[in-house]
């Protein structure tokens, strides 16, 4: 009996070690989009928060190619390029006040005209945007895009609003709240569209990984 228990302990150690190794291998496969300073950033976006929990998820782990196709369909565009792939690990933050969950923060990488964009959203429990900001932005119009007046236009929107926005053509049909978001620098239209695509991608991923797909009913694809 004792020997059997000992064997179980050894087996447990093996499995734990293997688990750590596999996690480490998966994390080193691709780079996600983390908050630069989670303690500071969480407090700034959710002043009432007392803590947060970090979750690491990926399309490849949750559903593979099938899920990737579903997410692409909801986004209205294919994932493309070297760095937008199913195995990108997404870092999602659950925000707590005491023991109560009060919201989420999630950021995504997006290709811009001259470099990468990192678009972060602070969301309430229903997936409505409470805060929008660029953690990183390489653009000729960076100053205009980082102005709070640009980010404020996203507040109050949810994935239900973004489903009518076509990330490829940059049009919303029928016209709605997303179409009313103003581009502060018309010469940087590509970066403006990149910001909207990143926001829609971000909302789709949060809906899939954190909210349990409550917005799927609005998807007409």
């Amino acid at each position: 009996m004792n020997a059997r228990r000992g064997t179980r302990i050894v087996a447990g150690l093996f499995l734990s070690a293997a688990g750590i190794l596999l996690t480490a291998a998966a994390l080193s496969a691709a780079v996600g989009c983390d908050l630069n300073d989670p303690d500071r950033d969480v407090k700034r976006l959710f002043p009432a928060s007392t803590g947060y929990k970090t979750l690491y998820v990926s399309i490849a782990k949750k559903g593979g190619d099938g899920l990737l196709r579903q997410i692409e369909a909801r986004l209205g565009d294919k994932f493309s390029g070297l760095f937008e792939t199913a195995d990108v690990p997404f870092t999602m933050y659950e925000i707590y006040k005491g023991a109560d969950l009060i919201g989420y923060i999630h950021g995504v990488n997006q290709k811009g005209t001259y470099g990468g964009l990192q678009v972060f959203l602070a969301l309430d429990l229903k997936g409505v945007i409470k805060g929008f900001y660029f953690q990183k932005l390489t653009s000729r119009a960076a100053k205009a895009f980082r102005d709070p007046s640009f980010g404020d236009q996203f507040i109050g929107l949810s994935l239900a609003d973004f489903y009518n926005y076509d990330v490829v053509s940059g049009r919303e049909d029928p016209p709605g709240r997303v179409g009313r978001i103003k581009n502060p620098e018309p010469a940087s239209e590509k970066d403006f569209r990149a910001a909207l695509r990143a926001t829609k991608k971000n909302l789709v991923l949060v809906d899939e990984f954190l909210l349990g797909n409550p917005h799927l009913k609005f998807f007409k694809g």
Partner: protein, 398 residues
Amino acid sequence: MKKIGVFEIAYKNLLRKKTRSLLTILGIAMAAWVLVSLFGFNRGYEASLNKDIDNLGFQMLVVAKGCPYEAATLMLKGGTGLKYMKEDIAATVAAEPEVEGVTPMLMQVVFDPNKGEAGGLAAFLGVDPVTFPKMKSALPFKAGGWFREPEAAEAVFGYEVAELEQREVGDLYLIPEKEVEVKVVGILERTGTQDDGTIFLPIKTVQRLFGVRELTSIGIKVKKDADMKAFEDKMYKLPDVQVVSLSQVKTTIMTLVSTARVMVFSIALIAILIAMMGVVNTVLMSVMERRQEIGILKSMGAMAGDVFKLIWLETVILCVGGGLIGTGLALLTARLTDILVRSLLPYSPSGGLVAIDLGLVLMTLGVVTAVGLASGVYPSWKAARMRPLDTIRSEVES
């Protein structure tokens, strides 16, 4: 009637006290695990360091005087002090008979206000499109290749910086502060070195954009048959420059690592001694508990040598069992050990830090078996010397 061998008797004896035997085996396994991992680290670290140095493509780096000595490590990690030296030093060095080739480099750093909340730094390494690719011929490309023109507005991105900037071959990139566009012509594969985070531009382009005509460093490839020491001495005589030889770098790093290694080896030695004491204790207790049985065995005709062999075999089974589990654990957790060691050391080369091969496994098993044989001598001798009548009488009295 089934004939039972001495090995089977020894094995069954160990099974009579399963928990004690298992704990002893685990103790030995832990010691073997540490031993294999340490020897594996010993081999792996030096091999990876050599590989990193080979991948650098040059064995010596000349930097402007005033660059801190820590540049030795910084250089391997990609940093460099922004002190400048004159361009013609490259030609002076290239003229030396020991030199196979030189490659001039110019590092420039700009502040990017749009990186993070408070901004961040973006570094650019200007390299010569002719000499640098030749020296760094081991650098693999994920897509595209090196720029061809000496003043092209083109860039080659290391893997991680390409991922951060989401750049692919053919994309444009805007150099912060300068607001100048360059075209991405190559993306490097992930190498695990400083190159992953580097944006390479043609050196003339960097000099033009930043208005700097000087260099921050010169990489030197020395001929294979050259006397490195004599050449190093010659380089030290150059005015206003400092020489960082990779043989020095290697020696410095290995010295630092050796100090830590000696400490850890001492701990491993203590672990082995403790495990050895554990084995002696276990087997001796087992012998004392079986005094009567041993006495009966001897009274039935077993010779002292037979008893010695039986007890010794029990010790060897414990040690070999522990050794096998320990080496297996070391093999399974080599990657984990690598991660842990990497997080503890101030500098780690890019390759695997723990290299475990069959030779190392066999050597460890040999050491553990030898430890087992040595540990078993005293309890076996004690058992072999027992007098049958004394042991039986002592049991009756107790």
